[in-house]
Subunit: 281 residues, 2 copies
């Protein structure tokens, strides 16, 4: 069930001339609502602002957006305020043609979605993944951003859906590990934690940033670097991050099985203490 809002009022449709529909011209954020409050709001607004600047879209004002989000959560009736909010920033209606004004005003739409917590045993035992056949294009002009151009993720996710995997891990065209279709990925080798560099493609997730910051506050440095496919399979542990589920260990990727996740469990405990309450194994 979804509930959409625009300008603080319930909405169900968007004009056919909207540039998000025509070109995917916009950005979005998917925010966990916990006890009626948006989690990691500042990180989401930081990323949205950075994305708007890179795409030369006027940055939406966070304060009225926060107010509209509160109204949307209340009016959606998702009780007790445990749900997902999707904020879509579209470049709005324009005449036909790719060019737009510079900077471009943005329209915001807020969707509220019922969500269920991930089963507790997956936090304990880990999730099943596979490497997707769909690869991410290299040196994308929108690398790192959560834009409305998500066909690569649609194709990759539809693959793992067909195979019953919880998540698909995507490589770039050079066979470097990048991220999951809906998550970021971290590997643990000899107790050192690394996560793929996302300057050529991929999405810089808000929970990825929160994980890096939480670990830094615990004097643990995460190395952001190139990680090849082989290194993924040789690593001691693998875990995923996502705004909704927080941190989840990976139990399997294809034929490779990881049965123990001691470092990941420590990370999860730190995250739980830092507001990501799901992360208790």
């Amino acid at each position: 069930m979804s509930h959409w809002f625009h300008d603080g009022k319930p909405a169900s449709v968007v004009p056919l001339d909207d540039r998000a529909f025509q070109y995917g011209d916009g950005l979005f954020e998917t925010i966990a609502i916990r006890n009626g409050e948006p989690r990691l709001w500042r990180y989401h607004m930081d990323r949205l602002a950075a994305g708007c600047e890179r795409l030369r879209i006027a940055v939406p004002d966070a304060q009225p957006l926060r107010k509209q989000l509160g109204v949307a959560v209340t009016e959606s009736g998702e009780i007790p305020g445990y749900c997902a909010a999707k904020i879509i920033v579209s470049c709005g209606v324009s005449a036909r043609g790719y060019a737009r004004e510079n900077p471009t005003a943005a329209n915001t739409y807020i969707g509220i979605f019922a969500t269920r917590p991930v089963a507790a045993e997956l936090y304990r035992d880990g999730v099943e993944t596979r490497v997707c056949e769909t690869k991410l294009a290299l040196f994308s002009a929108t690398a790192g951003l959560k834009t409305l151009n998500r066909l690569e993720q649609v194709l990759a996710r539809s693959e793992c859906h067909a195979h019953g995997a919880f998540e698909g891990l995507t490589l770039d065209a050079g066979d470097q590990l990048i991220c999951g279709t809906m998550s970021n990925v971290f590997i643990v080798s000899n107790e050192a934690i690394s996560t793929p560099s996302l300057h050529r493609c991929g999405v810089e997730g808000v929970m990825r940033r929160h994980t890096i910051d939480t670990l830094a506050a615990n004097d643990i440095t995460v190395e952001c670097r190139d990680i090849g496919k082989d290194e993924l399979f040789q690593s001691d542990e693998v875990f995923l991050t996502n705004s909704q589920f927080g941190v989840l260990p990976v139990r399997r990727c294809g034929d490779k099985v990881w049965r123990q996740h001691p470092v990941t469990q420590k990370v999860m405990a730190m995250m739980a203490r830092n507001g990501v309450v799901e992360c208790v194994a």
Copy 2:
């Protein structure tokens, strides 16, 4: 002025949950309507079908679509049937999440847009272009397709718009020439005609194919191959193709000026004889 139609009836909006709005999950065709008839209809339908197959979307049936297009052209009142039609194939409404059913049913929307012919002197003297700073990502899973993920073109086109250029030429991240933001590009060197290979990125335009086929019917082979940025500037002539304007010579790209376009003029004459009536210099 735009006129939109869905299922043969006037339409102005699309559901907010539509996957084209959420993810750019779909394809489109922009078709020249001349004397009320769609030009190169079969080529457009071929490309649409190929795109749907690659993206695993159910291929829309061409015959009812042709009928709906006829109704849309008539009802839009764009007289005397000189306009552009945009057919959007969206994957339709789904629950939140990237994954979709396989194969996925498609919704089609038809937009009719008033267009003006390009000024005659541009067919004679050529158009101004520039090389865009925005580069196309390499090894795209949707290379060649006209998908609804068009942010690269939005960014590139907005650049040339700002500089007053008729068209922007886009390179890939490896500095190979790929296409224009809304056109394909051909170069002439020692009377030999070449066009960039589009297997790593770019859109395979319908007018590009019609040009290659028309030249083949005149015993002229177009070589599809990698063309570096330097080779673009060293070429004797450059021309563009697009479904609406047909073929246009390039007069300038940045500082480089081409004053004569003898081979291009021959190509234009062949295209004019093969139904692209705009191409008379």
